[in-house]
């Protein structure tokens, strides 16, 4: 299959390249904003799990507007390094780690943020329940950071997996926000369990003292209530957002979208910087993986020697789904 096949399979991937976004995720935040007006009056924002940075791009464009507004502060955090963006402060670190959280808080110098967004997704282990659990912990870690930096009345948006224990997360979020909605942007595939919780109007319980050193743990089922196998009782409204006339992320489009414009292949806007599997891919591409008859011991810095500008497409094995 050629390089255009991904363009064909995924219309938003293609649009992202055409509009200069680093990832197709940008459309999710844009469509959430269309529905919830998330950026109105926002000048300080935190973007958790931000790499490769398309949400930060959206924040940067939307909050700073045309003229670079000095009041605007955007802090972006991720495990992975990210190419720089105008007006965005970067922190490389684990958001579940206490020291990272403290660093974020320090950046706000006692001021509070108007908006916290988190698009965190775990490095998939392939074990369904583990992935779901880790995703929930990313959300709770983001919530914990939020309780330290978000101003009362502020908003929090986070990716959520609608899996087996999603109602437990809803009930936790409802403690801190007066309005919690589960939103699905049209650019997010129908087939994926991904959705976003839009938590509006931060209003922690009276007397709540944010505590960084203890993680927020997820709730357990109320056995008396038969939450596990009874009818669904934690009501969080669902909202599909984005313009109905927008592209359909599940549909497969022809390459020629309209007759006036000739299709042209575009390279990705900003390839990931140093993904963890880079070395393994390099070895595989050059047939250096250990086999039954050859050794695989390479000096650790073999990586530094390889040219980074060679093929930097995301690895097909890591992202390849048919």
């Amino acid at each position: 299959m050629g390089r255009s096949s991904k363009d064909k399979r995924d219309i938003y991937y293609r649009l992202a390249k055409e509009e200069g976004w680093r990832a197709r995720s940008a459309f999710k935040l844009l469509q959430l904003d269309e529905e919830f007006n998330l950026f109105k009056g926002v000048s300080r924002a935190v973007d958790l799990c931000a790499a490769p940075g398309s949400w930060s791009q959206v924040l940067s464009r939307k909050l700073r507007g045309k003229e670079s507004n000095e009041d605007v502060k955007i802090v972006a955090v991720d495990l992975q390094a990210m190419a720089p963006l105008p007006g965005v402060t970067q922190i490389q670190g684990d958001i579940t780690k206490i020291s990272t959280a403290q660093e974020i808080i320090r950046h706000f110098e006692g001021q509070s943020a108007d908006l916290v967004v988190c698009d965190g997704a775990p490095d998939v282990t392939g074990l369904h329940d583990v992935d779901e659990y880790i995703q929930a912990q990313l959300l709770l870690a983001a919530l914990n950071i939020t309780t330290h930096v978000l101003k009362p009345g502020g908003n929090f948006v986070a990716k959520i997996f609608r899996g087996k224990d999603v109602t437990l997360l809803y009930s936790q979020l409802k403690i801190f926000f007066s309005s919690v909605t589960c939103a699905k942007p049209r650019s997010s595939r129908n087939s994926s369990i991904e959705a976003f919780v839009v938590c509006q109007n931060y209003s922690p319980p009276e007397g709540y003292v944010p505590n960084m050193s203890n993680p927020l743990l997820d709730h357990s089922y109320d056995v008396d209530f038969n939450q596990l196998e009874g009818p669904n009782r934690i009501i969080v409204p669902f909202l599909a957002c984005g313009d109905l006339s927008a592209f359909d992320s599940d549909r497969t489009y022809p390459l020629q979208l309209d007759s006036s414009k000739e299709y042209q292949y575009l390279p990705p806007t900003q390839p990931p910087i140093r993904p963890p599997y880079q070395k393994a891919c390099h070895l595989r591409r050059n047939n250096l993986l250990a086999k039954e008859d050859s050794a695989s011991v390479l000096p650790d810095d073999a990586l530094s020697a390889m040219s980074l500008d060679s093929k930097q497409e995301t690895d097909t094995a890591a992202s390849g789904s048919r």
Binding site: K97, D123, L127, L217, L228, T252, S296, D300
Partner: protein, 1149 residues
């Protein structure tokens, strides 16, 4: 108000889920965790299942920790005499998710018993270890937020909790040590580091209350950090005896660290831990995504000792290695797959001085077998089932290699000295060799005594090929051997050959000439393959299936028997007495089916015939008295166009595949490859140089998988072996404890019917078909009362995901008269569709196999179709960009089930709905109608056939189409379909994932009322009643649907509602990735939640329900859910006191 009301109770009957935990108990038992279910296998003799039990309820088992009998042996790999012997109870700590439970294995592995309540901890459990140095054994538990808990196992009381000062999330952890005080926790973080710290160091002496975190006043500091990985750490292992720690990471490497002694006096180990090795070898994540288990040779240079391939595409989810016990040099290795399968290997260690050395035979690269003879070897064969090799050179010399040296057996005269062909066979325990030459001569002789040979003049010209064919009547009787020699002008001479012994002269051969066969005329008119098959039509009859160089398959019958006597002996004598008649022509021919390059082999297994050719295909053939038909075609992998043979996997003969399990042997560019069509992978490769060479493949003895064999081949005029023949003993033996299903997610499921064992109606099997992301369609039989799941057939014709299935029942074809009722077999037409706009159709015949005492399935390919087939055939396609969308078929419904053809409606991702006709006899698929009305990905279709209507759904709306016009227009020229739907109702906010239609005749009026239930991505369930009236205005009849009522449950599931099925007229079962299966009922006052059950099938994508035989209509149904695995549930209706839905106060009581 209280009144009696019914509710539905669901109960699990069978579960296939990823195997997430494995543990050996000595050499004797293997424990597996599949979902919440713990299973015990005994390994003595042939491994078998002992007991199985649900122990963790809604958690998956991630770890099994047997309690060491005495101190000092946890994490110790030394052979341990103190391990509990099998006549004692073994205590196990089972954990997964937040759950932890004690389970006992009864003495002698008799069973499993629960030894305590299910404990639910505050956080996710990563590791549990038995602390044996405590006054009474306690449990140390490491949890996901880099903390550890000290537990009193029986009561579940939390004695202590200690967090690390480095608060963060861990992906993996190990707790090492014999006491809380001295234990060391190794954590695998998200930020690429391993952190080591001691939980007992800070929390000491401070008792704390269960569940509270107040006691963790001072957190423990990290004492060591191991840096080097460049990805999340997924998995850890510590080897006490050498002080080594191994870590596996998202960066696809395994690192081996020297950390020294951890815990006890060693504390956190050596001051400066070093990284000993970095091992890269996996194609994908080390978590096991490439489905391979690599045995690394620790002592070597980081070479891969051996690759154990095992599971279907989804990869390995768990792994265990047994401790070698004293006096034994072998140990077990087990892997558990995402496919729900469990594989077991016995690995023999070659050296005992190192505990570590799971060293398997050194993989020497190719070896010369040192042939020294006259001329160039042309043919190699293996004899005696071992490593004895026989070769024939172009100088007519036959030599044999035995015990490492060559000796000449026979050397032909001048006639044999420029060309020869050779074949060997074992007749009555004696190896017999036949050599043919350029002038039509054939020398046949016993290898043991070449002098006892016979010379035959078979032809005027060149002997193109020789074939040894066994002719047997019936399965059990020993057959007689025939030699076939293909000479000039398409004449194939035949002899029966017997070995006799004479006191003076020793062995000699008795040959009798049979009537020759005549090949159909063509340029390359010679025989390439032959086999005999016995068929039972009235009486037993022997048929010959042959293949020729032109790629044709031919069917021959022996001469009409001259007398009515059936004895072969008699028949043969008669023939030889009568003399040779005119050559026999073929009674049936499949001209050129294997392509211009020819047929390479034909063989027979259990009455079914298989042919291979240089077109890259295996054809499964159906034989009749005088016809030959292709039942199924299997393609090897892309680029593997030269197939030579099929190799049957013996262990599956006792299995349930109607078609035998086999590997395809052939050439893929310069390699010889064994391809597994079911697992879709190469299980053996040897760089031999490609096709056009003679080869012999010698499997290791005892290796059922055939993967560990040796290839002998000719390369550049010399004989080579793919590896050393010196070590003749096998090191690895593979067993399949449980066969896996699809390696990845299942997208759809459909039930075909029920089959009971003849003569024992209590043994009932439900037959299902499933389709999945691994691109295969599986036919399964599930026995609900025992929870057994058997794979009956795997169909691998799809090139992309299989997303949707449909089936229509058919009478058993062929023997419709007596077949059906006598042996309860049934037949179905099954359709599968999915990615790359591919649609396939099969006829399945489900029956009972007396031999294996299990259901069987016979698959006949009917037709296949792809929208972009034309594109694929275009020559210059590599140079141009294909502009058409990559259409996927999302859903399918049968619109009309006719005798000649079946009409199907397909929901397509390119925004179209298409109607296809599939003809069983014509084997044709035709596109009848398409509509792009919606401009959105169409997600589901359902049909309501009587009135020629079907509904389809897209982007939250449901549309009803009147297809009468399409169905009425018989010829394909019309495209008379409607351009707009006759009704369109917005129902959901976003995609409608599921749609089912049921119909009821209205009591009073003649109108039809259809009930349409939909499930959406928004988690909503909706039910609509629609009245359908015929509007007869002037000439045209038109449908006039009218929405009567519409009910919804907005958040029926807390996740997308992905699948829906009708239980009975007003009842539905729904499934969702929230892992609940819910039952709903429509009453006059709305939709009611009737019952729900937690399921261990994650990512639920398909559900199907049907009435249970014998159960009353209201109650008793089966519901099957598929997703990451499959679960079969049983429903039961019970009466309960009415609780008003939505009244919380009441519900609380």
């Amino acid at each position: 108000m209280t009144s009696a009301e019914s509710c539905t109770v669901l109960e699990s009957c069978a579960l296939v889920a990823p195997v997430t935990a494995l543990e050996f108990l000595r050499d004797d038992y293997l424990l597996t965790g599949e979902g919440p279910i713990l299973t015990l296998f005994s390994l003595e003799g042939s491994p078998r299942l002992r007991a199985s039990q649900n122990v963790l309820q809604n958690f998956r088992i991630h770890g099994i920790r047997p309690k060491p009998q005495t101190r000092h042996d946890a994490h110790d790999a030394k052979p341990n005499p103190d391990q509990p012997t099998s006549d004692e109870i073994t205590e196990l700590a089972i954990f997964g998710g937040k759950g932890l439970r004690l389970i006992n294995v009864s003495p002698c592995g008799r069973g499993l018993e629960v030894a305590g309540p299910l404990m639910e901890l505050q956080d996710w459990v990563l590791d549990v270890s038995w602390l044996m140095d405590e006054p009474c054994p306690l449990l140390g538990v490491s949890i996901a937020h880099n903390a550890a808990i000290l537990l009193e196992p029986q009561s579940g009381k939390v004695l202590s909790l200690c967090s690390c000062a480095e608060a963060c999330l861990l992906y993996s952890a190990l707790l090492i040590g014999q006491s809380w005080e001295e234990s060391v926790l190794v954590g695998g973080t998200v930020f690429n580091q391993l952190v080591l710290w001691r939980p007992g160091r800070t929390g000491t002496g401070r008792q704390c209350q269960a569940g509270t975190q107040a006691c963790a006043l001072t957190d423990a500091q990290v004492e060591r950090r191991l840096l080097g990985h460049s990805g999340v750490i997924f998995s850890l292992f510590y080897l006490q005896s050498s002080g080594w720690l191994a870590s596996a990471s998202d960066d696809r490497s395994v690192r081996l660290w020297h950390v020294g002694e951890l815990s006890g006096s060693g504390g956190c180990g050596v001051e400066v831990p070093t990284c000993l090795r970095v091992l890269y070898g996996h194609q994908a994540r080390v978590a096991g995504e490439d489905g391979a288990c690599l045995l690394w040779e620790w002592e070597g240079e980081g070479r891969v000792g051996r690759t154990l391939k095992s599971h279907r595409s989804g990869g390995i989810r768990s792994l265990a290695v047994s401790n070698a016990s004293v006096g034994k040099r072998s140990r077990w290795v087990a892997t558990g797959g995402a496919d729900g399968g469990v594989r077991l290997w016995k690995v023999v260690e070659q050296s005992t001085n190192s505990e570590l050395k799971v060293e398997v035979e050194k993989e020497d690269s190719q070896m010369y077998l040192g042939f020294e003879g006259i001329g160039c070897p042309k043919v190699v064969r293996s004899v005696g089932g071992g490593h004895t090799v026989v070769t024939c050179t172009d100088q007519g010399q036959v030599s044999m290699r035995q015990d490492g040296s060559w000796k000449e057996i026979w050397h032909g005269g001048p006639d044999f000295q420029s060309y020869c062909v050779m074949e060997v066979v074992c007749i009555q325990g004696v190896w017999v060799c036949a050599v043919g030459n350029l002038n039509g001569g054939v020398q046949v002789f016993p290898l043991r005594q070449p002098g006892g040979g016979t010379f035959l003049q078979a032809s005027e010209g060149k002997i193109h090929s020789l074939q040894w064919v066994e002719r047997r009547i019936g399965a059990c009787s020993r057959g007689s051997w025939c030699l076939l020699a293909s000479g000039s002008e398409g004449l194939v001479q035949r002899w029966t050959v017997e070995v006799a012994e004479n006191e003076e002269t020793g062995l000699f051969l008795v040959l009798r000439k049979m009537t020759p066969f005549l090949l159909p005329p063509c340029a390359k008119q010679w025989l390439t393959a032959a086999v005999t098959v016995t068929i039972h039509s009235g009486k037993k009859k022997v048929l010959w299936v042959c293949g020729d160089r032109r790629g044709s398959l031919l069917l021959y019958k022996d001469e009409k028997e001259k007398s009515q006597r059936e004895s072969v002996q008699e028949e043969d004598t008669q023939e030889s007495v009568v003399g040779i008649n005119a050559p026999i022509p073929a009674v049936a021919t499949l001209f050129g089916v294997h392509g211009k390059q020819g047929v390479t082999s034909v063989c027979e297994r259990r009455g079914v015939c298989y042919s291979t050719g240089r077109d890259g295909c295996v054809r499964v053939l159906a034989l009749n008295k005088d016809s030959l038909n292709v039942r199924r075609v299997h393609h090897a992998c892309k680029g593997m166009d030269w197939l030579e043979k099929v190799l049957f996997l013996d262990y599956s003969e006792k299995g349930t595949f109607f078609e035998a399990r086999f590997l395809m042997a052939g050439f893929h560019s310069v390699e010889f490859v064994l391809w597994d069509p079911i697992r879709q992978e190469k299980v053996f490769t040897a760089a031999c140089g490609g096709g056009h060479r003679s080869w012999a493949y010698i499997p290791s003895s005892g290796d059922q998988t055939l993967e560990q064999g040796t290839l002998i081949f000719i390369k550049q005029g010399t004989i080579m072996a793919s590896r050393s023949l010196a070590s003749s003993t096998t090191e690895i033996r593979g067993h399949t404890l449980r066969e896996g299903l699809h390696g990845r997610g299942l997208a759809c499921v459909c039930r075909l019917g029920e089959l009971s064992k003849p003569g024992d109606s209590s043994e009932k099997w439900e037959v299902l078909v499933t389709g999945g992301e691994d691109t295969t369609v599986n036919v399964l039989a599930v026995r609900p009362d025992q929870g057994t799941v058997k794979v009956l057939a795997v169909i691998a014709d799809h090139i992309s995901n299989v997303r949707t299935l449909a089936a229509v029942p058919r009478g058993a074809k062929g023997d419709e008269t007596n077949g059906r009722c006598r042996d309860m077999s049934f037949s179905t037409l099954v359709f599968s569709a999915g990615g790359r706009a591919q649609l396939q159709c099969y006829r399945l015949l489900i029956g009972w196999d007396e031999q294996t005492n299990l259901p069987t399935c016979q698959v006949t390919q009917i037709a296949g179709h792809r929208l972009d087939e034309k594109w694929e055939r275009r020559r210059n396609r590599h140079k141009t960009v294909k502009m058409d969308p990559e259409t996927r078929y999302m859903s399918m419904a049968v619109v009309q089930d006719g005798v000649e053809e079946v009409l199907l409606a397909l929901a397509c991702s390119d925004g179209a709905v298409r109607i296809f006709s599939v003809g069983e006899d014509s084997r044709k698929v035709e596109l009848l109608w398409e509509s792009f009305y919606h401009q959105r990905c169409v997600l589901s279709v359902a049909s309501y056939s009587l009135e020629d209507i079907y509904g389809k759904t897209v982007n939250g709306a449901v549309a009803l189409w009147d297809l009468t016009a399409v169905l009425d227009s018989k010829s394909g020229d019309s495209w008379l379909g409607p351009s707009v739907p006759c009704l369109s109702v917005p129902v959901h906010q976003s995609g409608v994932n599921a749609l089912v239609i049921s119909k009821q005749r209205h009591q009073q009026t003649p109108d039809d009322i259809i009930t349409m239930a939909t499930g959406g991505d928004d988690g909503q369930l909706s039910v609509m009643k629609i009245k359908v009236e015929m509007n007869q205005s002037d000439q045209t009849e038109s449908l006039c649907p009218q929405l009567l009522s519409h009910w919804s449950v907005p958040l029926a599931h807390s996740a997308p509602l992905t699948a829906l099925t009708t239980l009975s007229s007003a009842r539905w079962a729904s499934a969702s990735p929230d892992q609940r299966v819910c039952v709903w009922r429509l009453c006059d006052d709305g939709l009611h939640h009737q019952g729900a059950m937690f399921t261990h099938t994650a990512d639920a994508a398909g559900v199907w329900a049907w009435q249970r035989e014998g159960a009353n209509i209201q109650g008793g149904a089966y519901v099957v859910v598929c997703g990451q695995g499959l679960q079969l549930l049983k429903t039961k209706e019970i009466e309960r006191r009415k609780v008003v839905f939505g009244d919380r106060n009441k519900q609380k009581m």
